[in-house]
Symmetry: C2
Subunit: 346 residues, 2 copies
């Protein structure tokens, strides 16, 4: 059902210029996607760190007072250093990420071959972004591109909103979902007078990482939270679920392609079909994923066995292109047919 691009990966870390000479690009992945002036535009998450020195772990933090990104080196034999995940470490009891992400435009005329900008488009700048900004989703509403992204800091993981008309200048609109929340995707049109968005809270106490819906009058204030779907223990989506990009309207309902992981942190993609008027009501859902990590660029990398899309473009011919992160370090593309997905749902 899934057709990977033959030129995958379409963006690798090696192809992306660091934002400054003392940094190196670790990952270029989890891109938001849209169409603009005849081109496909990606906002790629570019994860950087200070150039590695032997015997040190390196990361960087944005200082919210100076707005500067400052390198941090810690000796590998420091007894206060603890690390058991390639994406994070603990030093003196404080959690850090091993990289700091910004968002950067990449463009393509044919939707398959991309040119990545030399400079960042959106950099961390607020106190909620001192560990970086990640995993954007783009929704076009009334001529404006709304970009939501995860903002990471010691205060928690929140989701913020920005707006652009041209991918040249951006207006920051603040935090729209407080912690712990990521994997937000805003629907492309109102339903019965209100905007809708998926969100994915992570719970400390009761509950599992699940897809919820909220609605809004103005895209900034969100309420009327409703549970949509949760993990199904023992199945392919048994550990956590979260939305991909904004859903597609079909005659049968809102079609959302979502990611899920099993207890081994293997991330696959399935679909859920939701009522057009009451989108918290589930009509059908994938019994099996239609897309799993199989290609070598998906099974090897920073986090092996991950396919994760937050960019999706409707090709207008009954097919969709997913732009996805492979193994948490490269950007890839693949197409699926809407009718085939709908036919596969139960």
């Amino acid at each position: 059902m899934i057709q990977r691009f033959t030129n995958n990966p379409i963006i690798t870390p090696e192809q992306v210029k660091p934002s400054r000479p003392d940094f190196e690009v670790m990952c270029a992945f989890n891109a938001g996607a849209t169409r603009h002036t005849g081109k496909v535009v990606l906002l790629v998450r570019v994860a950087e760190r200070p150039i590695k020195r032997d015997g040190y772990v390196a990361t960087a933090l944005m200082n919210a007072d100076t707005k500067r990104i400052e390198p941090l080196y810690i000796k590998l034999d420091d007894p206060d250093l603890k690390q058991d995940d390639p994406r994070l470490f603990t030093y003196k009891g404080v959690n850090y990420l091993t990289s700091i992400s910004h968002l950067r435009v990449a463009e393509s005329s044919d939707g398959r071959h991309f040119t990545t900008a030399d400079q960042p488009s959106l950099l961390p700048e607020s106190q909620y972004e001192s560990y970086g900004i990640e995993d954007p989703r783009i929704t076009l509403i009334g001529g404006d591109y709304y970009i939501n992204y995860s903002a990471i800091s010691p205060l928690g993981v929140v989701t913020s909103l920005a707006r652009t008309k041209d991918f040249q200048t951006y207006e920051r609109l603040g935090v729209i979902f407080g912690p712990d929340n990521k994997d937000i995707a805003i629907f492309p049109e109102k339903i019965n007078g209100r905007y809708y968005a998926f969100h994915r809270p992570s719970m400390k106490h009761l509950g599992s990482p699940s897809m919820w819906l909220a609605s809004s009058e103005n895209l900034l204030d969100w309420g009327h939270h409703e549970f949509v779907i949760g993990p199904r223990p023992g199945m392919w989506d048994g550990e956590r679920v979260g939305c991909g990009a904004a859903p597609i309207r079909t005659s049968q309902g809102w079609l959302e392609l979502y990611h899920a992981s099993d207890p081994n942190t293997r991330y696959c993609t399935g679909a859920v079909l939701l009522d057009l008027d009451e989108p918290w009501k589930v009509i059908a859902r994938s019994g099996q994923p239609f897309f799993c990590p199989e290609a070598v660029y998906e099974t090897t990398g920073l986090m092996p066995n991950v396919v994760f899309h937050n960019g999706l473009v409707d090709n207008g011919d009954g097919s969709l292109t997913l732009f996805y992160g492979a193994a948490d370090d490269k950007t890839c593309g693949a197409t699926v047919r809407v009718d085939e997905i709908l036919a596969s749902l139960k």
Copy 2:
């Protein structure tokens, strides 16, 4: 600084009539408070369970399909039962509470001696409330009493809103903060055209249980989230912080009396003073709590060493009455003077 009522505890579980003959009241605590028609009205959290049978742990769940509350008994020697907290247990991998809470009116003409209604005022009824509804806060806005409360279910801990004019009939307004979020208090007036509320997300990943602010145009949709204060490791509020009731406007700023726990789960009360126009900006904060568990009814009970207020009444003479849960099972009262609290802040 704190003056406890001489008739504490003012409501005990033994004084409250169970909602049905096969149930017993375990706790009557954590009451919201306001004034209505010359009386002080409390909405008390009443926690019940099926009458205990020897050799069993008992709880009850609200079935969201039938709206009925159904008892659940599990044998204490069942190998699938795990319990190490008096408030919850795990059975076959699913978490349960050891009681189910509803909200019930208690009234007083003198503000010190209360009569508790024989019947519940608000019972669990939605799928988000199947484990009960808890810890209400009451804010009077434009002639309506807005009641927010924690709604507990296997889907997570959320905060919902209800409205009443008379404490006789209630209108449910849905979930205003998704999981994991509780300890919400809505300000009594708009600031620069927007409503404000404290909220207290619990984070699974980065961050500590902290007080945040959100604002709203309509009390239902909330956005513009801002961090206010977090735990201060090594101090009296080192583990978690959360608001009490709605803040009091003073000439120096918004005065919020907040609860905090240390790593030993000892809950005390301190204060924070916030900017009148930009209430996420901290002017001053308690170096030491002004109220800690000391009386025997605070140091003994379901959860010893807890004072936790979500009800507060302004007496109009420079003093405030805190209605607080003592040791998580009884309702008590105490007064403080605003000028003394303000003078104690740093």
